[in-house]
């Protein structure tokens, strides 16, 4: 319940939540700063799935 002392489950949720967003943020900035095009989209690899077909816009 809210307001009592911090329970183990509360600590679990807090650390998992904070760890998840911190990891996601770190990953994004790592990619931007050090590996911006490590995983280019399929269209640049010419793989040819329907999602990669050039579309006249």
């Amino acid at each position: 319940m809210n307001g009592s002392s911090l329970t183990p489950f509360a600590l679990f949720f807090m650390l998992i939540s904070m760890g998840t967003v911190t990891s996601l943020t770190a990953y994004c900035y790592y990619r931007i700063l050090f590996a911006p095009n490590r995983n280019p989209p399929a269209e640049e690899r010419h793989e040819g799935s329907d999602s990669t077909q050039p579309v006249k816009l």
Partner: protein, 501 residues
């Protein structure tokens, strides 16, 4: 960040764009709304629907808005009417009128939000001056804020103080905005966002190491994080989590569209968009989840030097979070005047700031008459879901998910997982229709009928009813003005090229 976008302004650097977009998203809601929502909706277990909403609603909508914005910008449109016009069947030319929401809603929110942000500036000065110290009881602190908000109440510090800080805030915003995208908004983000994070880290450390006056830091954190498992079976909790996504990521309002319209056609939006979302989530969960409520539970610092500095850091942090969001909220209206009516940037900024000052004055005068609440509900809450529902239908079904998916990946540095294609086509629209229906039935209809006036438990003052109608009339007048301006702007445009090339 190079290339041509038909002579439109552009962002100077990628990090500047990310910080400006993050500044748009990180606002008062991250530090004030999120901890309250978490505490009221299950504590730690709130994070389960929160993360599911982030993945199924927040992230796909964010990518869609970036895509629509860049696509519209590459065709010379910095605002939603022109973007929707490009997405829709241009022979029928009806979609642009739906885009009125993307100009009027951010303008409406900008006007009242700037007034609220000006309170933060006022409180920053009060902190340094030690004005509010000694107000130990909640009632005393509430009364202090109440008299600050009431311009006719001269019992406290005089009604003119709120007006002064409002004018100062509007003037500062006008000055920043008149400098342009790269020279104004981007510079504000490059300076303001690091200061915001620095202040937030200092406060987080301070809160977690504060000698407890009332309770320990762990007791404070327990208010937000202790789980209530039964809440997972409550639909309201899931909808609260979904609603929080709109506020925290600034979705469904038109600001992301305008900001991303200043990208070039080949600039990445998938990795950059995800980065701004991640930055916002970091600010919300890590910083927002550890400052406000734990500090309130532990007890406020005293009027000594460090107490004043701590208070200043807190309110100035909120002020920075607020102004970086406010510049984004005013941008669609400014871009619309610039691009559709050929106004210079300075003139467009002057027009919008004058309107904000005039209509903001109504909020200053009628704040305690629920004038602001009306705007906040229809434009700042319900309107967001309505706008997002319209845009995802246009994107996934009128423009087409195949074209949209392709457009999203032009110049992309990150391949969006394939699962997001069906999510954008089916899951997110379904999520939005459920949210729209639920809020429509449970909140929008009773709010429209002013059911709270008759509800003794809420005890709203019936004397506010005429002011609330006045507030609605002004709101509708702004929508009408927006529709008229769109019609006038398009009247002089050449007929669309039917080839669509």
């Amino acid at each position: 960040m190079s290339g041509s976008t038909r002579g439109r302004e552009r962002w100077g650097t990628r990090i500047g764009l990310i910080l400006a977009m993050a500044g748009n998203a990180v606002g008062l809601g991250n530090f004030l709304r999120f901890p309250v929502q978490a505490a009221q909706n299950g504590g730690g277990t709130f994070m389960i629907p929160y993360f599911i909403s982030f993945l199924l609603l927040g992230v796909p909508l964010m990518w869609i808005e970036w895509t629509i914005g860049r696509y519209g910008g590459s065709r010379g449109h910095g605002t939603v009417p022109g973007m929707f016009d490009e997405l829709g069947d241009r022979k029928k030319r009806w979609a642009k009128y739906l885009g009125v929401l993307g100009i009027v809603m951010p303008l409406i929110v900008f006007i009242y939000y700037t007034y609220v942000v000006s309170w933060m500036l006022g409180y920053s000065f009060f902190s340094l001056a030690g004005t509010y110290f000694g107000l130990e009881a909640f009632e005393q602190a509430s009364q202090f804020l109440y008299t600050y908000q009431d311009v006719f109440d001269t019992s406290g510090h005089g009604g003119w103080v709120a007006v002064l800080f409002f004018v100062l805030t509007i003037s500062f915003l006008g000055w920043v905005l008149s400098k342009g995208i790269s020279g104004g908004i981007e510079k504000l983000a490059l300076i303001g966002m690091p200061i915001l994070f620095l202040f937030a880290f200092i406060l987080m450390i301070r809160v977690l190491t504060l000698p407890p006056a009332v309770a320990s830091p762990a007791d404070g954190l327990s208010f937000i994080w202790n789980p209530e498992w039964s809440s997972l079976g409550n639909a309201r909790v899931w909808l609260a989590a979904a609603g929080q996504m709109f506020f925290t990521l600034s979705l469904g309002i038109g600001t992301i569209h305008t900001y991303s319209s200043f990208l070039t056609e080949k600039d990445d939006i998938t990795l950059t968009g995800l980065s701004t979302g991640a930055t916002n989530e970091f600010a919300e969960i890590v910083l927002g989840g550890t400052i406000a409520i734990p500090a309130a539970v532990e007890g406020l610092p005293g009027p000594d030097f460090w107490g004043r500095i701590t208070g200043f850091f807190w309110f100035f942090l909120l002020f920075i979070a607020g102004i970086t969001s406010a510049v984004a909220l005013s941008s669609p209206a400014i871009a619309f005047l610039q691009e559709e009516f050929r106004q210079t940037r300075r003139r467009a900024v002057r027009t919008v700031m004058t309107l904000a000052l005039a209509l903001g004055g109504l909020h200053v005068i009628f704040y305690h008459k629920q004038f602001l609440d009306v705007w906040d509900y229809w434009a700042g809450t319900f309107g967001l879901v309505l706008f997002a529902t319209i845009e995802i239908v246009l994107f996934a079904y009128v423009f087409g998910i195949d074209r949209g998916w392709h457009e999203m990946h032009v110049g992309a540095d990150l391949r969006v997982p394939g699962i997001y294609r069906p999510v954008m086509k089916w899951i997110t629209p379904l999520f939005l229709f459920v949210l729209l229906g639920w809020w429509g039935v449970t909140e929008a209809v009773p709010t429209f009928l002013m059911a709270d006036v008759a509800d003794a438990a809420i005890s709203y003052d019936p004397a506010t009813v005429p002011y609330r109608w006045l507030s609605r009339a002004v709101l509708l007048g702004l929508v009408g003005l927006g529709l008229y301006l769109i019609k006038r702007a398009w009247a002089g445009k050449p007929a669309p090229d039917s080839s669509g090339a």
